[in-house]
Amino acid sequence: MTRTPTHPALAFLVLGALLVSSPTTLGQSCSFKPVLQGRVCTKPGAPCKPPTVGSGHVGKCTTEGLRPEALACECQGSPTPSYNITLSPLTPTYIDTDVATSTITVIAFNGFSGTVDFSCTVSGLSHPAPSCANPAAAIVTDGSATSLLKVSASTSAAEGTYTVTVNAVDGHGRPPDNGAQSSSVSVSHVRWILVGGGRIAILTFVALLALWSVRLLWRNERDAWR
Protein backbone atom coordinates (compact mmCIF):
# COMPACT_ATOMS: atom_id res chain seq x y z
CA MET A 1 0.00 0.00 0.00
CA THR A 2 1.35 3.37 -1.00
CA ARG A 3 0.77 6.66 0.70
CA THR A 4 -0.08 9.81 -1.19
CA PRO A 5 1.25 13.10 0.16
CA THR A 6 -1.31 15.36 1.75
CA HIS A 7 -1.72 19.05 0.78
CA PRO A 8 0.28 20.54 3.71
CA ALA A 9 3.12 18.15 2.97
CA LEU A 10 3.15 19.13 -0.69
CA ALA A 11 3.31 22.80 0.22
CA PHE A 12 6.24 22.11 2.53
CA LEU A 13 8.12 20.27 -0.22
CA VAL A 14 7.58 23.14 -2.68
CA LEU A 15 8.83 25.69 -0.13
CA GLY A 16 11.88 23.59 0.51
CA ALA A 17 12.65 23.33 -3.18
CA LEU A 18 12.41 27.10 -3.53
CA LEU A 19 14.77 27.67 -0.61
CA VAL A 20 17.34 25.29 -2.05
CA SER A 21 17.21 26.74 -5.54
CA SER A 22 17.53 30.39 -4.44
CA PRO A 23 18.91 30.96 -0.97
CA THR A 24 19.03 34.75 -1.30
CA THR A 25 15.45 35.33 -2.25
CA LEU A 26 14.24 35.60 1.31
CA GLY A 27 15.06 38.95 2.84
CA GLN A 28 18.13 41.11 2.32
CA SER A 29 20.75 39.05 4.11
CA CYS A 30 23.99 38.23 2.41
CA SER A 31 24.73 34.78 1.22
CA PHE A 32 27.86 33.22 2.62
CA LYS A 33 30.04 33.05 -0.39
CA PRO A 34 33.47 31.60 0.13
CA VAL A 35 36.04 33.63 -1.71
CA LEU A 36 39.81 33.98 -1.61
CA GLN A 37 41.47 31.59 0.82
CA GLY A 38 38.08 30.38 2.01
CA ARG A 39 37.16 33.64 3.69
CA VAL A 40 33.62 34.96 3.91
CA CYS A 41 31.87 37.96 5.32
CA THR A 42 28.55 37.94 7.05
CA LYS A 43 27.13 41.29 5.99
CA PRO A 44 28.04 44.25 3.82
CA GLY A 45 31.08 46.06 5.18
CA ALA A 46 31.86 43.39 7.74
CA PRO A 47 35.38 42.05 8.04
CA CYS A 48 36.08 38.79 6.35
CA LYS A 49 36.24 35.63 8.39
CA PRO A 50 38.53 34.14 9.40
CA PRO A 51 40.24 37.44 10.11
CA THR A 52 43.49 38.11 8.43
CA VAL A 53 45.86 40.97 8.79
CA GLY A 54 46.55 43.55 6.16
CA SER A 55 44.10 45.45 4.07
CA GLY A 56 41.76 44.32 1.27
CA HIS A 57 39.75 42.00 3.45
CA VAL A 58 36.53 43.91 4.03
CA GLY A 59 33.42 42.34 2.60
CA LYS A 60 31.49 44.18 -0.04
CA CYS A 61 27.89 43.66 -1.14
CA THR A 62 27.11 43.19 -4.76
CA THR A 63 23.83 42.45 -6.45
CA GLU A 64 23.36 39.08 -7.94
CA GLY A 65 22.05 39.02 -11.49
CA LEU A 66 19.01 41.18 -12.15
CA ARG A 67 17.44 40.85 -8.75
CA PRO A 68 18.26 43.95 -6.69
CA GLU A 69 16.98 42.32 -3.52
CA ALA A 70 19.52 39.53 -3.77
CA LEU A 71 22.87 40.50 -2.31
CA ALA A 72 26.08 38.56 -2.28
CA CYS A 73 28.74 39.37 0.23
CA GLU A 74 32.22 38.70 -0.90
CA CYS A 75 35.69 39.55 0.16
CA GLN A 76 37.32 41.55 -2.53
CA GLY A 77 40.95 42.22 -3.15
CA SER A 78 43.86 40.05 -2.23
CA PRO A 79 45.24 40.27 1.32
CA THR A 80 48.04 42.75 1.70
CA PRO A 81 51.36 41.46 3.03
CA SER A 82 51.80 42.61 6.59
CA TYR A 83 53.46 41.63 9.85
CA ASN A 84 53.19 41.52 13.61
CA ILE A 85 55.92 41.96 16.18
CA THR A 86 56.20 40.25 19.53
CA LEU A 87 58.53 40.89 22.45
CA SER A 88 59.73 38.28 24.88
CA PRO A 89 59.86 39.51 28.49
CA LEU A 90 62.97 41.50 29.32
CA THR A 91 65.36 39.37 31.31
CA PRO A 92 66.48 39.80 33.95
CA THR A 93 63.49 41.70 35.17
CA TYR A 94 65.66 43.59 37.66
CA ILE A 95 68.88 45.26 36.59
CA ASP A 96 71.46 47.23 38.49
CA THR A 97 74.25 48.39 36.20
CA ASP A 98 73.83 45.66 33.64
CA VAL A 99 71.76 44.90 30.57
CA ALA A 100 68.33 43.34 30.14
CA THR A 101 67.56 41.73 26.82
CA SER A 102 64.46 40.73 24.94
CA THR A 103 63.94 39.02 21.62
CA ILE A 104 61.84 40.85 19.05
CA THR A 105 60.16 38.47 16.66
CA VAL A 106 58.65 39.60 13.38
CA ILE A 107 55.85 37.34 12.18
CA ALA A 108 55.03 37.78 8.52
CA PHE A 109 51.55 37.41 7.01
CA ASN A 110 50.38 37.04 3.44
CA GLY A 111 53.85 36.53 2.09
CA PHE A 112 55.38 39.58 3.71
CA SER A 113 59.11 39.93 3.20
CA GLY A 114 61.59 42.74 3.53
CA THR A 115 63.35 44.77 6.15
CA VAL A 116 61.73 45.89 9.36
CA ASP A 117 63.39 48.73 11.26
CA PHE A 118 62.93 49.17 14.98
CA SER A 119 63.09 52.02 17.41
CA CYS A 120 62.69 51.87 21.14
CA THR A 121 61.76 54.26 23.91
CA VAL A 122 61.95 53.93 27.67
CA SER A 123 59.32 55.60 29.77
CA GLY A 124 58.74 55.71 33.48
CA LEU A 125 58.04 57.96 36.40
CA SER A 126 61.64 58.12 37.58
CA HIS A 127 64.51 59.98 35.96
CA PRO A 128 67.08 59.44 34.63
CA ALA A 129 65.72 56.30 33.00
CA PRO A 130 67.79 53.42 31.64
CA SER A 131 68.63 53.63 27.97
CA CYS A 132 67.92 51.39 25.02
CA ALA A 133 69.73 51.34 21.73
CA ASN A 134 67.60 50.96 18.63
CA PRO A 135 67.55 47.24 17.84
CA ALA A 136 69.13 46.09 14.62
CA ALA A 137 66.80 45.81 11.63
CA ALA A 138 65.31 42.40 10.92
CA ILE A 139 65.22 40.99 7.43
CA VAL A 140 62.18 38.81 6.88
CA THR A 141 62.72 36.18 4.25
CA ASP A 142 60.85 33.05 5.25
CA GLY A 143 57.96 34.03 7.44
CA SER A 144 59.76 35.33 10.51
CA ALA A 145 62.86 37.10 11.73
CA THR A 146 64.28 38.18 15.06
CA SER A 147 66.24 41.02 16.54
CA LEU A 148 67.59 41.73 19.99
CA LEU A 149 66.43 44.53 22.26
CA LYS A 150 68.92 45.68 24.88
CA VAL A 151 68.12 47.96 27.79
CA SER A 152 71.04 49.07 29.88
CA ALA A 153 71.19 50.84 33.19
CA SER A 154 74.06 52.78 34.68
CA THR A 155 74.72 53.75 38.27
CA SER A 156 72.97 57.05 37.60
CA ALA A 157 69.71 55.41 36.49
CA ALA A 158 66.96 56.03 38.98
CA GLU A 159 65.40 53.06 40.74
CA GLY A 160 61.95 52.19 39.49
CA THR A 161 59.98 50.26 36.92
CA TYR A 162 60.13 51.33 33.30
CA THR A 163 58.17 50.49 30.19
CA VAL A 164 60.21 49.80 27.11
CA THR A 165 58.25 50.29 23.90
CA VAL A 166 59.37 49.02 20.54
CA ASN A 167 58.03 50.55 17.34
CA ALA A 168 58.59 49.07 13.92
CA VAL A 169 58.20 50.12 10.30
CA ASP A 170 58.73 48.14 7.15
CA GLY A 171 60.33 49.34 3.94
CA HIS A 172 57.09 51.11 2.94
CA GLY A 173 56.80 52.87 6.27
CA ARG A 174 53.97 50.62 7.45
CA PRO A 175 53.75 49.77 11.15
CA PRO A 176 52.99 46.26 12.36
CA ASP A 177 49.33 45.23 12.43
CA ASN A 178 49.44 44.77 16.19
CA GLY A 179 51.08 48.16 16.78
CA ALA A 180 53.96 48.99 19.09
CA GLN A 181 54.85 46.40 21.72
CA SER A 182 56.02 46.92 25.28
CA SER A 183 57.82 45.12 28.02
CA SER A 184 58.87 46.27 31.46
CA VAL A 185 62.10 46.29 33.38
CA SER A 186 63.00 47.48 36.86
CA VAL A 187 66.15 49.16 38.05
CA SER A 188 67.41 48.40 41.51
CA HIS A 189 70.77 49.37 42.89
CA VAL A 190 70.40 47.09 45.86
CA ARG A 191 73.18 44.53 45.78
CA TRP A 192 72.10 41.16 44.47
CA ILE A 193 72.69 38.09 46.49
CA LEU A 194 72.71 34.69 44.91
CA VAL A 195 71.52 32.13 47.38
CA GLY A 196 73.14 28.76 47.17
CA GLY A 197 76.43 27.02 47.28
CA GLY A 198 79.37 28.67 45.59
CA ARG A 199 83.09 28.17 45.51
CA ILE A 200 83.53 28.86 49.18
CA ALA A 201 80.85 26.30 50.04
CA ILE A 202 82.67 23.71 47.94
CA LEU A 203 86.01 24.63 49.49
CA THR A 204 84.54 24.37 52.96
CA PHE A 205 83.10 20.98 52.10
CA VAL A 206 86.42 19.75 50.65
CA ALA A 207 88.30 20.97 53.72
CA LEU A 208 85.87 19.20 56.04
CA LEU A 209 86.04 16.07 53.90
CA ALA A 210 89.82 16.11 54.02
CA LEU A 211 89.83 16.43 57.80
CA TRP A 212 87.28 13.65 58.06
CA SER A 213 89.32 11.41 55.73
CA VAL A 214 92.50 11.99 57.72
CA ARG A 215 90.66 11.17 60.90
CA LEU A 216 89.23 8.03 59.34
CA LEU A 217 92.62 6.88 58.08
CA TRP A 218 94.21 7.66 61.41
CA ARG A 219 91.60 5.62 63.24
CA ASN A 220 92.04 2.73 60.83
CA GLU A 221 95.79 2.89 61.30
CA ARG A 222 95.40 3.01 65.05
CA ASP A 223 93.06 0.03 65.04
CA ALA A 224 95.50 -1.89 62.83
CA TRP A 225 98.34 -1.33 65.29
CA ARG A 226 96.33 -2.42 68.30
Binding site: I200, F205, W212
Partner: protein
Protein backbone atom coordinates in the same frame (compact mmCIF):
# COMPACT_ATOMS: atom_id res chain seq x y z
CA UNK B 1 103.46 4.77 66.59
CA UNK B 2 107.02 3.64 67.18
CA UNK B 3 107.69 3.31 63.50
CA UNK B 4 106.55 6.79 62.82
CA UNK B 5 109.25 8.42 64.85
CA UNK B 6 112.29 7.77 62.62
CA UNK B 7 110.41 8.86 59.50
CA UNK B 8 109.47 12.07 61.20
CA UNK B 9 113.07 12.67 62.18
CA UNK B 10 114.26 12.16 58.64
CA UNK B 11 111.61 14.50 57.30
CA UNK B 12 113.03 17.21 59.48
CA UNK B 13 116.32 16.86 57.64
CA UNK B 14 114.88 17.45 54.20
CA UNK B 15 115.89 21.08 54.15
CA UNK B 16 119.51 20.26 54.86
CA UNK B 17 120.31 17.38 52.50
CA UNK B 18 118.68 15.65 49.59
CA UNK B 19 120.02 12.24 50.55
CA UNK B 20 117.67 11.67 53.46
CA UNK B 21 114.78 12.68 51.20
CA UNK B 22 115.62 9.82 48.88
CA UNK B 23 115.50 7.42 51.78
CA UNK B 24 112.25 8.88 52.93
CA UNK B 25 110.77 8.39 49.45
CA UNK B 26 111.90 4.82 49.34
CA UNK B 27 110.36 4.21 52.71
CA UNK B 28 107.08 5.74 51.62
CA UNK B 29 107.06 3.51 48.57
CA UNK B 30 107.16 0.51 50.82
CA UNK B 31 103.99 1.63 52.58
CA UNK B 32 100.95 0.09 50.92
CA UNK B 33 98.38 2.76 50.39
CA UNK B 34 94.81 1.54 50.17
CA UNK B 35 93.12 1.79 46.78
CA UNK B 36 89.62 2.96 46.18
CA UNK B 37 87.23 0.21 45.20
CA UNK B 38 85.95 -0.07 41.65
CA UNK B 39 82.39 0.20 42.84
CA UNK B 40 83.11 3.47 44.60
CA UNK B 41 84.89 4.85 41.53
CA UNK B 42 81.95 3.87 39.34
CA UNK B 43 79.45 5.42 41.72
CA UNK B 44 81.59 8.58 41.95
CA UNK B 45 81.60 8.88 38.17
CA UNK B 46 77.83 8.57 38.20
CA UNK B 47 77.66 11.31 40.83
CA UNK B 48 79.47 13.68 38.46
CA UNK B 49 77.20 12.64 35.61
CA UNK B 50 74.03 13.10 37.65
CA UNK B 51 75.10 16.53 38.88
CA UNK B 52 75.96 17.62 35.35
CA UNK B 53 72.60 16.33 34.19
CA UNK B 54 70.86 18.25 36.97
CA UNK B 55 72.23 21.54 35.71
CA UNK B 56 70.78 20.91 32.26
CA UNK B 57 67.31 21.73 33.58
CA UNK B 58 66.07 25.07 34.94
CA UNK B 59 64.19 23.60 37.97
CA UNK B 60 61.99 26.68 37.98
CA UNK B 61 59.25 25.07 40.04
CA UNK B 62 61.70 23.95 42.71
CA UNK B 63 63.35 27.36 42.82
CA UNK B 64 59.91 28.89 43.24
CA UNK B 65 58.95 26.45 46.01
CA UNK B 66 62.27 26.97 47.82
CA UNK B 67 62.05 30.75 47.58
CA UNK B 68 58.42 30.61 48.74
CA UNK B 69 59.40 28.52 51.75
CA UNK B 70 62.28 30.86 52.65
CA UNK B 71 59.93 33.79 52.22
CA UNK B 72 57.44 32.31 54.66
CA UNK B 73 60.07 31.34 57.18
CA UNK B 74 61.58 34.83 57.10
CA UNK B 75 58.13 36.41 57.35
CA UNK B 76 57.36 34.27 60.37
CA UNK B 77 60.61 35.50 61.92
CA UNK B 78 59.34 39.06 61.59
CA UNK B 79 61.32 40.11 58.54
CA UNK B 80 59.83 42.31 55.82
CA UNK B 81 59.41 40.09 52.78
CA UNK B 82 58.10 40.38 49.23
CA UNK B 83 58.24 38.28 46.12
CA UNK B 84 59.88 39.90 43.10
CA UNK B 85 59.83 37.09 40.56
CA UNK B 86 59.52 33.33 40.55
CA UNK B 87 63.05 32.90 41.88
CA UNK B 88 63.71 36.28 43.46
CA UNK B 89 62.61 37.49 46.83
CA UNK B 90 63.12 40.69 48.74
CA UNK B 91 63.92 40.36 52.41
CA UNK B 92 64.50 43.46 54.53
CA UNK B 93 65.03 45.44 51.31
CA UNK B 94 67.68 43.06 50.01
CA UNK B 95 67.16 41.06 46.85
CA UNK B 96 67.93 37.35 46.93
CA UNK B 97 67.87 35.16 43.84
CA UNK B 98 67.46 31.46 44.40
CA UNK B 99 69.64 29.52 41.98
CA UNK B 100 69.71 25.78 41.35
CA UNK B 101 72.42 25.10 43.92
CA UNK B 102 70.20 26.68 46.52
CA UNK B 103 67.52 24.07 46.07
CA UNK B 104 69.85 21.19 47.01
CA UNK B 105 68.55 19.32 43.97
CA UNK B 106 72.13 18.91 42.79
CA UNK B 107 73.01 17.36 46.13
CA UNK B 108 70.04 15.02 45.97
CA UNK B 109 70.76 13.96 42.41
CA UNK B 110 74.43 13.50 43.22
CA UNK B 111 73.51 11.34 46.20
CA UNK B 112 71.42 8.91 44.17
CA UNK B 113 74.38 6.84 42.87
CA UNK B 114 75.82 6.70 46.39
CA UNK B 115 72.55 5.77 48.07
CA UNK B 116 71.28 3.26 45.51
CA UNK B 117 71.24 -0.25 46.95
CA UNK B 118 71.68 -2.74 44.13
CA UNK B 119 70.31 -5.57 46.29
CA UNK B 120 66.98 -3.85 46.76
CA UNK B 121 64.14 -3.45 44.31
CA UNK B 122 63.51 -0.35 42.25
CA UNK B 123 60.40 0.39 44.27
CA UNK B 124 62.22 0.20 47.60
CA UNK B 125 65.07 2.34 46.32
CA UNK B 126 62.61 4.91 44.93
CA UNK B 127 60.72 5.05 48.23
CA UNK B 128 63.97 5.53 50.12
CA UNK B 129 65.11 8.27 47.78
CA UNK B 130 61.78 10.03 48.15
CA UNK B 131 62.25 10.07 51.91
CA UNK B 132 65.82 11.32 51.44
CA UNK B 133 64.53 14.08 49.15
CA UNK B 134 62.18 15.28 51.87
CA UNK B 135 64.98 15.18 54.46
CA UNK B 136 67.31 17.12 52.18
CA UNK B 137 64.62 19.68 51.38
CA UNK B 138 64.02 20.34 55.08
CA UNK B 139 67.76 20.43 55.81
CA UNK B 140 68.20 22.93 53.00
CA UNK B 141 65.43 25.16 54.30
CA UNK B 142 66.93 25.10 57.77
CA UNK B 143 70.36 26.14 56.51
CA UNK B 144 68.86 28.87 54.31
CA UNK B 145 66.83 30.23 57.20
CA UNK B 146 69.89 30.19 59.47
CA UNK B 147 71.87 31.96 56.74
CA UNK B 148 69.23 34.70 56.52
CA UNK B 149 69.12 35.17 60.28
CA UNK B 150 72.92 35.29 60.54
CA UNK B 151 73.17 37.70 57.62
CA UNK B 152 70.71 40.15 59.08
CA UNK B 153 72.53 39.96 62.40
CA UNK B 154 75.66 41.27 60.75
CA UNK B 155 77.45 38.10 59.66
CA UNK B 156 78.94 38.49 56.13
CA UNK B 157 76.97 36.63 53.47
CA UNK B 158 79.98 34.54 52.49
CA UNK B 159 80.17 33.17 55.98
CA UNK B 160 76.44 33.00 56.61
CA UNK B 161 75.50 31.24 53.37
CA UNK B 162 78.53 29.68 51.77
CA UNK B 163 80.45 28.35 54.75
CA UNK B 164 77.20 27.10 56.23
CA UNK B 165 76.47 25.55 52.82
CA UNK B 166 79.78 23.71 53.00
CA UNK B 167 78.81 22.33 56.41
CA UNK B 168 75.43 21.28 54.98
CA UNK B 169 77.17 19.43 52.14
CA UNK B 170 79.37 17.71 54.68
CA UNK B 171 76.33 16.74 56.76
CA UNK B 172 74.88 15.15 53.62
CA UNK B 173 78.14 13.30 53.05
CA UNK B 174 78.06 11.90 56.60
CA UNK B 175 74.45 10.82 56.01
CA UNK B 176 75.43 9.12 52.76
CA UNK B 177 78.41 7.49 54.47
CA UNK B 178 76.20 5.98 57.15
CA UNK B 179 73.65 4.79 54.59
CA UNK B 180 76.16 3.39 52.11
CA UNK B 181 76.05 -0.17 50.87
CA UNK B 182 79.40 -0.05 49.07
CA UNK B 183 83.03 -0.36 50.11
CA UNK B 184 85.27 2.68 49.85
CA UNK B 185 88.53 0.75 49.61
CA UNK B 186 89.52 -2.25 47.57
CA UNK B 187 89.89 -5.45 49.52
CA UNK B 188 93.52 -6.57 49.71
Amino acid sequence: MERATPVAQRERCVAMSSQPLLHAKLDLAVIRLPWLSREFLLRSSLVALFVLLTYQFPWQWLRFVTSAAVLRICASLGMATARVSFDTIRIQGQLFRVVIACTFVDVLMGSIPLLWDVRKSLHRNASRLLAVAVIFFVLNLVRLAIAQVLYFRGVPWTLADEVLGGFAYFAVWLFVWRQRTWRLLREV
